[in-house]
Subunit: 126 residues, 2 copies
């Protein structure tokens, strides 16, 4: 990405948002914030996410230091996920984003419907 | 996506985050919030984003009702982008997310370095 003097922080913000700004990460953080500790399959059921996508998301969140992974050597083995201290601090921005999303879902739906109707009109008259 | 009684809002939050939660959308909103009105090429230079990705991002933001597109019939034609009222209301959650990202960039970088070093160790000893 090109650097620009007008937006010195863009590149750095971008780096972080690439990881923590994606929707599945946000939903995993919300779930762990709500339930404390969850196992892989609990998260999977809870979010309705595919095995592969959840595995990827958890690995990235663990790498970024937002989520901890604890392996319990019992039979059968148990792996649990929870928020780290950094993950806890991410709850507030995530909550603000989630609340905004819910508050404005109807408005966004209406905007999309209007946009699509207009695009269809234009396609017909073209 | 499967619905789950434990997370009735997941699906709806997910729908919105799919669009508004991606990093380029966030950076476009930050830029328009800062500068008011920008032309396509100004945004492109400012963000160091590809033509194709900016075009896609603006189209989605316009469809979601967050960004307005104004065509001025001058020579050469001028197209300007700005935040709508809904886009303005999105500034607050975006700001909270951006501030958190900047505050925690160093911590995340350190976590990634530690994770990668450990993964390398494990690969060697495997």
């Amino acid at each position: 990405m090109a650097e620009d003097a007008k937006c010195p922080d863009c590149k750095r913000i971008n780096e972080v948002l690439t990881r923590v700004g994606d929707r599945w990460s946000v939903l995993v953080v919300i779930s762990l914030a709500e339930y404390g500790t969850l196992r892989f399959n609990e998260l999977k059921r809870h979010l309705g996410i595919s095995q592969r996508m959840l595995s990827l998301t958890l690995k990235e969140l663990e790498r970024d230091g937002l989520v901890s992974r604890t392996y319990h050597a019992v039979i059968p083995p148990k792996v649990e996920y929870a928020l780290t201290e950094l993950g806890q601090s991410f709850r507030e921005p995530v909550k603000v984003l989630g609340v905004w999303a819910l508050d404005n879902l109807a408005t966004i739906d209406a905007a999309r419907a209007a946009y699509d109707a207009q695009s269809e009109e234009q396609a017909k008259s073209a």
